[in-house]
């Protein structure tokens, strides 16, 4: 069953220097229970895409296109309607566990309020459920720890707490924005395991935003590579990592250090990401591309269905 369908989504901002395009005509759909990785450099629009999915864009943003979640066009919802979806059917885990918890409120307050608002629970019942969820997410002694404040926990623990809070209402879709970026390597592995485990248990659909192909390889079924607010390549993880078709994906994978390629200098892509106010008319990656053709500068590439059932937006790949 298709749980999320994004059709031609764009996010633009009117700035002093012109119209800034953060997300540029993106379409994709997700089957229930699958995991999508969204990969891209900083500024590729992946976090803006997440904010658009949550309906949390700044009021100055202009959003066009459709977001259909579980049969409902949530992009047309007003604030109150959205409020009943957020934290309830769609939940989000933020990038920085140090700043995503309110330092002045105890965990008990920050967790029970979700259940009290969405499921009209009494405090006592909500507290019990929150304690169970903390235990499931690997917090020791949750009964006493739930009355502590965020500063009394380490970064990894706080990320577990954020995940537990997001899972309280058993959401159908969980969006994790760089869930491991702020953590050290051993903690990263634990958090990824936790995400994998809860997703499996709850048959939840998961969107993971990251710039780390390692996270994608260990967690995701599908991957979407973004650049300049647009999709460059979309496909199944196993195939895309084995045989990337887009020059940008190839470049990204080549610039990752591996144990095999010792002795050689690590590849680094020349140039910088495009200015979102002055996006190129054709392919946004054209100025940095090793395989650019004459038409890349002026004509936007149409999606090409590749042999491995993936989709690639590139003139050179067709």
């Amino acid at each position: 069953m298709c749980i999320l369908d994004v059709e031609d989504l764009s996010v633009k901002y009117a700035t002093r220097s012109g119209l800034l395009t953060a997300v540029n005509h993106i379409s994709f759909s997700l089957m229930q229970g699958t995991t999508l990785g969204i990969v891209g450099e900083s500024g590729s629009g992946k976090s803006q895409l997440a904010m658009a999915l949550m309906g949390l864009l700044d009021t100055s943003a202009r959003q066009t296109g459709k977001i259909i979640f579980d049969g409902q066009t949530i992009s047309d919802f007003d604030r109150t309607q959205r409020r009943h979806i957020n934290g309830n059917r769609i939940a989000m885990v933020f990038q920085d566990p140090m700043s995503a918890l309110n330092p002045y409120l105890s965990l008990a307050t920050q967790m029970t309020e979700v259940l009290m608002v969405h499921q009209q629970m009494r405090y006592k019942q909500a507290l019990e459920q929150s304690i169970t969820m903390l235990a499931e997410c690997g917090i020791d002694e949750p009964k006493t720890r739930i009355h502590s404040y965020p500063h009394e926990f380490s970064g990894g623990m706080r990320q577990r707490i954020l995940i537990a809070t997001a899972l309280l209402c058993r959401p159908a879709l969980l969006i994790a924005d760089e869930p491991t970026t702020a953590l050290d390597v051993s903690m990263q592995a634990q958090i990824l395991d936790l995400l994998k485990q809860v997703q499996h248990q709850q048959k939840m659909t998961l969107i993971v935003i990251t710039h780390d192909f390692g996270v994608v390889a260990s967690l995701c079924d599908q991957v979407m590579v973004m650049y300049g607010g647009q999709v460059m390549e979309y496909g199944l993880v196993a195939e895309l990592l084995q045989q990337p078709l887009h020059p940008y994906t190839q470049g990204l994978l080549e610039s990752m250090p591996t144990l095999k390629k010792t002795g050689k200098q690590l590849y680094s892509m020349p140039g910088d990401p495009p200015d979102p106010v002055y996006l190129p008319q054709g392919c946004p990656f054209e100025p940095r591309c090793r395989q650019r053709l004459a038409e890349c500068k002026t004509i936007k590439p149409e999606p090409v269905i590749a042999e491995n059932a993936g989709m690639v937006f590139c003139h050179a790949a067709s």
Binding site: H84, N86, A91, L101, L105
Partner: protein
């Protein structure tokens, strides 16, 4: 723990107070003239007797030690000018009035100031915000001794709504103008402070995370945003209490309110040494106490602070 901390703070206030008394003592005594220099010439013998009685014939450092000893006993000495009154009597009579005026102004400033600041932050860059900002800048820039006479002119003399001064028991209309005049600069400052901190808090990740949890906006403001935004205002309340005190010295004079601020001015003009110093001691204790209360409240509101 908290009690021990409060006790330590009170102990450490004693040297602070002594330094303050020392500076104030030498300052009043360094002003030319003395309490018994009047237009009417006093016989030299009488003058010598007076000086002896009040220890004015002794060297200054000895006078200071006499004074310090007497305030250690809780005795602020006799007034030099108000014969038959001790400074303790005068302050005991005036202090409740000054305290009520100051407390009312402070409460008004905190409530109105934080509300205005919060609205300005919520409707940032709108007409509401610009109006509040304009009011704030004006309120900070114009001193009380300009605002108060203008208010008397407008509300007492032209419109005849409120009394121009005085302080009669049970007449609440006496309170309105002085309390507003005293609170106005503090309202303005607190509104600015609250606006800035509220904007910072509203832009923070945890507020965005609270919206992602699907909480209603009213709950987010009340539970998640108010406390962190109010903390900078709370730490300003220590200095604000000092501001209210200095303001009240002027306001009590303008509205002829029988508080101790009036004695401070008259005492200084009359070189009534003990009266001026007595008021300084009371004000000093008040400011130290206000700062202690602020710090204890801060610890209560911020879970990260421990004693």
């Amino acid at each position: 723990m908290l009690l021990r901390y409060a006790f330590q703070r009170l102990l450490s206030a004693i040297p602070t107070l002594m330094v303050m008394v020392f500076i104030a003592f030498y300052l009043v005594h360094s002003a030319p003239g003395g309490p018994f220099d009047t237009e009417k010439v006093i016989a030299p013998e009488v003058r010598a007797n007076l000086d002896r009685l009040y220890h004015l014939d002794q060297p200054l450092h000895k006078q200071f030690i006499y004074y310090l000893r007497s305030i250690m006993r809780g005795d602020l000495g006799p007034s030099f000018r108000y014969r038959d009154y001790s400074v303790n009597d005068l302050i005991a009579a005036g202090f409740p009035v000054s305290f009520k005026l100051g407390a009312a102004a402070m409460s008004l400033a905190v409530i109105i100031g934080s509300l205005l600041g919060m609205f300005a932050a919520l409707y940032r860059n709108s007409v509401v915000d610009n109006t509040i900002q304009l009011f704030s800048v004006t309120g900070i820039a114009i001193p009380g001794f300009v605002i108060a006479p203008v208010m008397i002119l407008l509300f007492s003399i032209d419109l005849k709504w409120l009394p121009a001064g005085g302080w009669q028991i049970g007449r609440w209309s006496d309170w309105v103008l002085p309390v507003i005049a005293l609170a106005l600069p503090q309202i303005a400052y607190i509104a600015r402070l609250m606006r800035g901190s509220m904007i910072d808090v509203l832009n923070s990740v945890y507020i965005r995370a609270a919206y992602a949890k699907g909480l209603p906006t009213s709950l987010i403001l009340r539970r998640h945003a108010f406390k962190p935004a109010f903390l900078p205002v709370l730490s300003y309340l220590g200095p604000a209490s000092a501001g209210i005190i200095t303001g009240s010295v002027v306001i009590e004079q303008i509205f002829s309110i029988p508080g101790i601020g009036r004695y401070f001015v008259q005492g200084a003009i009359n070189r009534d040494y003990t009266l001026v110093l007595g008021v300084v001691v009371v004000y000093g204790i008040l400011v130290i106490f206000a700062n202690l209360v602020v710090d204890l409240l801060y610890a209560w509101l911020d879970p990260k602070v421990e004693y």
